[in-house]
């Protein structure tokens, strides 16, 4: 018998406006001792709701039925009180967004020790000792327990959250999106930690994520969730090789993989709201393999092979995930984020650069504390960008990648002359814009456009789509009359893939999906007919299912309109799949630069290599030897001497601590335009 069994779980929420939302619909799940199970699905599939139900933490507006058996004992039957004594002792949880999981006014150590005292597993001195052990276990110095949550970095906080979950030595750990919003390297560190824990502490782990490759790389079994139900579960290998449910297959297909040059496709539509009963299969409207029966009758969860699946196709082989491209595309009837396949195309003719940056340096002055002024300490500067050179040509996509805080956004803003304190030359079509007046800059803004990371924030919630897209026209007084402007707006919407435009013109952002919002933002950038588009993390906030669509769109734009595009991202696989050139940034410097093929296939800088090694791959059998860097990006106030990467570099030598390497063509590189800044290559 499994350690944790969830049986036919239903959850309903009372809605404020009346009625009920059937959030979880008969979910069953098993977790064995020492097992590592992934629970995957798009955002809004009720993954978190399921976790909360297992912990008995649902709000009063919820109604629950079904059973949650731990060691054969039904937890739900005991009610809140029954749960209270069990929580944390047997089952602990690492919440999604552990940033806010800590009480900001209590030391981390105290919060870790708190459940021990409560459940009596350790008290007083023993609790303190155990806290220290736990912190060490997750790779945080024990002394950090004295510190407050805000003094921790994101990665540390995530580790601390894990340490806290382990406080009472639970048998089951629920980890809800433990790596989302973390950098690849930190993500790899955390995942490693979790895997090691199952091995060493004998923990059973249920890991919730929307990142299928991550599951594929770490878990033994995975369950795919859709609309409050498990649609398929089984060993990860089987899911990858022979998915039984089209949703599984499409999820794999939507995740770009670094070395597979296969097509990437987004899943059209979005999950149902579940506030009214679903007839038939919930996935039917988005399914490329749906047929008449699917609309009429809900499929049952049946055993197929080593796993289970709920599909009327009943385990027909629907092809392996990697082979989507070779098959006819998914049904396009309801498609908005229409899947487009990418014609492989690399080298463009070396034409005149659109924008050329030489030696860009940006300093931020730090906040000067009063005591520091009193002590006459000099103002401190933070060099966010240090001598960056970059070129983007017409019809080219250049990707700027790097960990959080390395200066990517700063570089972009400096390109647009949107921040003070930048030096270096910026040539836009040969004209140096670094000294332009404000008036002249306004004209420049027509040619270079920026889109922002967060599509939920970049649109004014009070603006209709048409207002948003029209705004640049008004600001720059182009487009003439109202009717003409409307035409331009519609045209831009079409170019951004929002067809027919009439359907969108009058909508407010909250009536749009994330992908659609990002498209609207792109449309607003396109409406003035720019030549260069800078896209700052265009997909990082989006669901996997729609990411591909946006990236395809960008790719399409550069092909059709000869647009130069600078994509800023921390996701190497995206860059690898879509960019012509890749520039890898570390602590304000570009450490490696070259064509995408060169950088991905022949990485020279140890940092690039490490980054590439930790990118999760969708294929569970492809588990490369990962080179996880220790620590985090250093404080930009204290840039290490010599090569700034040397403290984390696995191959650093003594000279690396002394000499600051310049970008140069690495020895033995085939391409003339491949450069790396490492003394050892």
């Amino acid at each position: 018998m499994s350690l944790l069994q969830v049986r036919d779980l239903h959850v309903w929420f009372d809605l404020e406006q009346g009625g009920q939302l059937h959030a979880v619909q008969g979910l069953s799940l098993d977790l064995d001792q020492r097992e590592l199970v992934g629970l995957v699905g798009e955002s809004g599939c009720r993954k978190t709701t399921t976790m909360l139900t297992i912990m008995g933490l649902l709000p009063p507006s919820a109604t629950v039925s079904g059973r949650v058996l731990f060691d054969g004992k039904d937890l739900l039957a005991g009610g809140e009180r029954g749960f209270r004594s069990q929580r944390w002792k047997d089952i602990a949880i690492v919440f999604q967004g552990s940033m806010n999981a800590f009480n900001p006014v209590q030391t981390v150590g105290k919060q870790i020790a708190e459940p021990m005292e409560r459940h009596g597993t350790a008290t007083g001195r023993a609790a303190t000792r155990r806290t220290a052990e736990l912190l060490e276990l997750v790779g945080i110095p024990a002394s950090a327990g004295e510190r407050y949550p805000h003094q921790f970095s994101g990665g540390m906080r995530q580790r601390a959250a894990i340490a806290m979950a382990l406080a009472c030595a639970p048998k089951v750990l629920l980890a809800d999106e433990p790596t989302t919003a973390l950098d690849v390297m930190i993500q790899a560190q955390i995942v490693d930690l979790l895997v090691a824990l199952t091995r060493e502490v004998g923990l059973s782990l249920l890991m919730v994520t929307h990142d299928l490759p991550l599951v594929a790389q770490t878990c033994q079994r995975a369950a795919v969730m859709y609309a409050g139900q498990i649609v398929e579960s089984g060993p990860v290998q089987d899911l990858y090789n022979s998915p039984r449910h089209p949703y599984t297959r499409l999820l794999f297909a939507a995740s770009p993989s670094i070395h597979h040059q296969g097509a990437v496709a987004s899943i059209p539509g979005s999950p149902p709201a579940l506030d009214r009963p679903v007839r038939g299969c919930a996935f039917e409207p988005r399914c490329d393999r749906a047929f008449a029966l699917c609309r009429e009758e809900p499929p049952l969860l049946l055993s197929v092979g080593a796993g289970v699946a709920a599909c009327h196709l009943n385990g027909d082989d629907i092809g392996d995930a990697s082979a989507v491209a070779s098959r006819p595309g998914p049904a396009t009837t309801v498609s908005r984020d229409q899947p487009v396949t990418l014609p492989l195309d690399t080298g463009t003719d070396p034409i005149a650069p659109l924008i050329e940056v030489r030696g860009l340096t940006v300093d931020y002055s730090s906040h000067q504390g009063l005591s520091r002024i009193l002590r006459r300490e000099p103002r401190r500067y933070l060099r966010a960008v240090d001598g960056v050179s970059l070129t983007v040509r017409k019809g080219q996509i250049v990707a700027l990648i790097g960990e959080s805080g390395c200066g990517k956004t700063t570089t972009a803003l400096a390109l647009l002359r949107m921040i003070e304190g930048a030096s270096g030359s910026i040539l836009l079509k040969g004209q140096d814009i670094s000294l332009l007046s404000h008036r002249a800059l306004k004209a420049l803004r027509r040619h270079v456009q920026l889109t922002y990371q967060d599509p939920y924030e970049s649109l004014d919630p009070r603006f209709r789509v048409r207002d948003t897209v029209e705004e640049p026209l008004l600001v720059h007084r182009v487009g003439g009359m109202r009717a003409q402007r409307l035409e331009l707006v519609s045209e831009a919407l079409v170019r951004a893939g929002l067809t027919p435009p009439d359907l969108y013109l009058n909508r407010y952002p909250h009536q749009l999906s994330g992908g659609e919002r990002q498209r609207v933002a792109i449309a607003a950038s396109l409406v003035l007919g720019p030549e260069l588009l800078i896209a700052d993390e265009p997909v990082s906030m989006l669901d996997v299912s729609v990411r591909a669509g946006i990236l395809m769109l960008l790719n399409d734009l550069r092909l059709r309109n000869d647009l130069g595009i600078l994509i800023i991202t921390h996701d190497l696989s995206t860059a690898a799949r879509f960019a012509d050139r890749i520039a890898v940034m570390y602590l304000g410097r570009i450490v490696e630069e070259g064509s995408a093929v060169d950088v991905v296939n022949d990485p020279r800088h140890p940092y690039t290599r490490a980054l590439l090694s930790v990118v999760p791959r969708a294929d569970p059998s492809d588990r490369p030897n990962r080179q996880i860097l220790v620590g985090e990006t250093p404080d930009p106030f204290a840039i290490p001497s010599g090569c700034r990467f040397h403290p984390r570099c696995p191959v650093a030598e003594t000279r690396c601590t002394e000499t600051d390497p310049a970008l140069h063509r690495p020895a033995g590189s085939v391409s003339a335009d491949h450069q790396a800044a490492c003394l050892l290559v």
Binding site: M55, L57, F83, R84, S85, Q86, R87, W88, K89, A92, I93, F95, G97, N100, A101, F102, N103, P104, V105, Q106, Q111, E114, P115, R118, H119, Y148, H150, Q151, M164, G369, L370, S371, R372, L374
Partner: protein, 322 residues
């Protein structure tokens, strides 16, 4: 806390000083914009002569140019001298001390009750949200919050006529009473004004505590605390209240202005010779030194309260200044 919070406190103190200086200056100008002077008031005596007027003007320094008066005033202030009241020729500090001594016990009693009641009611109504208890207490709180203080005072006067003294700080006619007798007498006099203050002020505090606590209860770490299996009371005490106190402290400190308003009204209703009445009287008398002194006192008090709140905040919230 470390250097960050030290910086924070230094900054707060600097702001406070700037504020006090601005207040001193603005007040000086403002009071002199009042039509009429103390001299014309004080010379309303039989056969007052131009000489009396001149004598008074010279005495008060009102014959000098305004900027010189300002300079003198600043000079005095720096030396800790608040000047001499025009009204009774006693040092302003002495008059203020008397008034403060009258006001503080009554006000403190009212305020302490108000804050205690506010925290209690606020906590209860946030914690027990949606229950009948909460609806009832909210209704009472909002009602009392909406009623003008002077009106509550008048109503209490009617209700307690004959039971409790109707005005004044003490019965001045207790001859040869024991000190215990004097104490109970003073306490009896304090009850109604303090009650009025407490009733009209607590609502505000309760509402602040309530919304602060409600906000805290919605934070993710509350869910963490529940997940840890802590009983609700423990969660409330160890996690919710401390966080909810942060905004509350600031609010309480900043409510000083409102409290002073309450005092003036309550002191008028209950014939209480405190700071509020003194200010009111000083306005009527154009007693600039007294007005300046009283305003300085109030300003410094509020600034100090805010500073105390900031310090408390910095102590309670490790994020501050970091």
């Amino acid at each position: 806390m470390g250097r960050g919070s030290g910086d924070y406190i230094v900054k707060r103190v600097a702001f406070g000083l700037v504020t006090v200086f601005v207040a001193v200056t603005v007040n000086f100008v403002l009071f002199r914009a009042l039509p009429g002077t103390a001299v014309s008031n004080l010379s309303q005596v039989p056969r007052a002569s131009p000489e009396l007027k001149a004598a008074l003007e010279k005495e008060f320094g009102l014959d000098r140019p305004k900027w010189q008066q300002y300079g003198l005033y600043l000079d005095q202030l720096v030396h800790g001298n608040l000047g001499i009241s025009y009204d009774n020729q006693r040092p302003v500090s002495e008059n203020l001390t008397g008034a403060v001594r009258n006001t503080v016990p009554m006000a403190a009693l009212g305020l302490v009750v108000a804050i205690a009641l506010g925290i209690l009611v606020g906590t209860l109504s946030a914690w027990r949200r949606g229950t009948r208890l909460e609806h009832l207490s909210s209704a009472i709180t909002v009602t009392l919050f909406s009623v003008p203080a002077q009106w509550v005072g008048l109503i209490l006067l009617i209700v307690f006529a004959g039971v409790l003294p109707s005005g004044g700080i003490r019965s001045p006619f207790l001859i040869g009473a024991t000190s215990w007798g004097r104490l109970t007498d003073e306490f009896r006099h304090m009850v109604l004004p303090s009650l009025t203050l407490a009733l009209t002020l607590y609502g505000g505090y309760a509402l602040v505590v309530r919304s602060a606590l409600l906000e805290t209860l919605g934070e993710d770490y509350m869910l963490t605390a529940r997940a840890k299996g802590l009983p609700p009371r423990t969660i409330l005490r160890t996690h919710a209240l401390r966080n909810a106190m942060l905004p509350t402290i600031t609010m309480i400190a900043l409510s000083a202005g409102r409290i002073v308003t309450g005092y003036i009204l309550v002191e008028t209703v209950f014939s209480w010779p405190g700071v509020g009445r003194a200010i009111y009287q000083a306005v009527l008398q154009r007693d600039y030194p007294m007005l300046q002194g009283a305003f300085l006192l109030l300003t410094v008090t509020v600034v100090l309260c805010n500073l105390a709140a900031d310090v408390a905040y910095a102590r309670l919230d490790p994020r501050v200044g970091g």
